[in-house]
Symmetry: C2
Subunit: 341 residues, 2 copies
């Protein structure tokens, strides 16, 4: 609206011949306002294109009717690129927010930054959604502070490693990893390389690795530490890690990348090394990002239900804001078999 002619509830009141509080009550649907009066007020409000001033309303009510979405990740060189898996959730998060009557503030931060304090303290948002892969040491400290501040928040991550810190929504990483392992064994693969941090750095990745180990054990095999290379979650990291893996000269017939981004890098490294997928090496990723179906060959991977995840994140946070106690939730992880295995 033009800055000059801001329409307020007083303007409506004057035109309707009532007081300002009556306008406020009428528009919020308060039953103490007679239907006739309410209709009259609503008509005038519509005509003047009146909208409740959000700042004034927030100030008075002490709530922002806004959630904050925080993407974060480890400090990486290639900035301003958000992990496509988390980006995929954005659509359903936005949709669910709209459904619940909340706006969404979005931000993208390095995990090392001080994002954790700002939003709740300044009352910009009533709650936080945390989305990202990052160093658990750093992440944990931030999350602890949120808990200490009594900030309402939900995060997507490893339910198994929640550490009692807040409410966690996540997929069943361990079962997903096990499904990958069983699938590779079915395909007569015995020497499975794992590319990705399997330490505490990313609890999700560690769970996936454990799932793989579970499946190998079931089949009477053991995970060979020589076939594990660390990698952060990026295409470049996956590429470099796979090069290191190949350079070791330890034979492997299949490769489980802890995320699809890593898998993309692995495919590139294998291609450059002349290792044909899936003939020489079967490759499996995790996440089922949109790109996974487009690689050469299309990538077998584990799908997380990001649409449902987004909706659940929002709904859980909203319930928390309403004062309910909320529980963790583990969503299924589904193996999607494509031509890379």
């Amino acid at each position: 609206m033009a800055l000059s002619d801001k329409v307020t509830s007083f303007d409506i009141a004057a035109l309707a011949g009532v007081s300002q509080p009556t306008v406020s009550r009428a528009l919020r649907g308060d039953k103490t306002v007679s239907a006739a009066t309410r209709l009259r007020i609503e008509a005038i409000a519509r005509q003047l294109n009146y909208k409740v001033d959000r700042a004034a309303s927030s100030l008075r009510k002490g709530e922002a009717r806004t959630l904050a979405l925080l993407f974060f990740e480890d400090p990486l060189p290639d900035d301003s690129h958000i992990n496509p898996f988390f980006l995929s959730m954005l659509g359903s998060i936005l949709k669910t927010c709209a459904l619940r009557g909340y706006d969404l503030l979005t931000s993208f931060q390095q995990l090392s930054a001080d994002w954790h304090v700002d939003y709740a303290d300044s009352r910009k948002a009533d709650g936080l959604i945390l989305l990202g892969y990052g160093d658990w040491q750093l992440y944990r400290a931030r999350v602890e502070q949120l808990v200490g501040q009594k900030t309402r928040f939900v995060r997507y991550g490893s339910v198994a490693a929640s550490g009692g810190l807040g409410t966690v929504i996540g997929c069943d990483n361990r079962a997903g990893g096990a499904a990958v392992g069983r699938h590779l064994i079915e395909r007569r693969r015995r020497r499975v390389a794992f590319v990705g941090e399997a330490s505490d750095h990313y609890p999700e990745f560690r769970d996936r690795y454990r799932g793989l180990a579970d499946a190998l054990r079931e089949a009477g095999l053991a995970a060979d530490p020589g076939l594990h290379v660390d990698a952060l979650s990026s295409e470049q990291a996956g590429y470099e890690a796979t090069q290191r893996l190949i350079a070791r000269g330890i034979g492997f017939d299949s490769l489980f990348a802890a995320s699809d981004l890593i898998a993309l890098g692995a495919l590139r490294a294998l291609d450059e090394a002349g290792l044909v997928v899936p003939r020489a090496v079967s490759v499996v990723g995790f996440d089922d990002i949109p790109a996974a179906s487009l690689t050469r060959p299309p990538l077998t991977t584990v799908a997380q239900d990001y649409a449902r995840a987004g909706a659940v994140l929002v709904d859980t946070l909203v319930r928390q804001i309403a004062g309910e106690a909320t529980d963790h939730l583990t969503l299924p992880a589904t193996l999607v078999v494509r031509a890379s295995t």
Copy 2:
């Protein structure tokens, strides 16, 4: 922060032994506050983890220090999926917003909805960024209303077809289309099919088609209307349109898809029809979405500089909010040759 113990500027004032206005002045860096007082206040504020209440500040100052990002698109069946090209801008938009001290409200709407009125009138945001491909008839009406309301906004689109409505940032679609045409002609292609709306529906697509026609004309060729099929901007639409094109039985040796999403669908349709890319048909897209380098074969396309676009959109809007008059800006479009041609 816990709801119970909200820290206000009065608390700081009491501890510092000054009045509330002095706290406000000190924290905003007003020079009338002595350095000693300011340092004392800052120390206490930090210690109490005080943050300026956004709602109160907005109400008093009449500005939200917030921009609203609106993704929109034609009503399509597969909802909650945002066009990857526009999604790619999100990172640089977020980064630039942070740099300029603005928060970003994000929303995803069908073009037919009434998104255009809410944000500015309710003072939720100081300005709007419009991102999407949509029916120009509908879009134009919305944009006109924004202009009528004197809302500050910028949009990404066709500068050529700006219609004098607001400030438009866009890439040089016509030059990009011409580059595609020349490239195909260099590759000895003469019968270029165009898949995508070339009418007023999407002005960007029309510009691309005109660029193609420019290049054909330069080479003494004419665009064959029989080789043009309409398609909205989605993979599915591209797939179906390409099937229709093939069914026509009019020979073509190359295909220019008005967007990469359409190109993805075209590749699928060509593959199913047994037409080998690029041997039988060269394929070119537009946008250079992340997926473009992953298709089989990797897609030749026209890259838009989305990182720069995002930054320019924010900066332009910020200048507009500051009261400056802002101009359209056309960014370069760069042909990226890959294996599909």
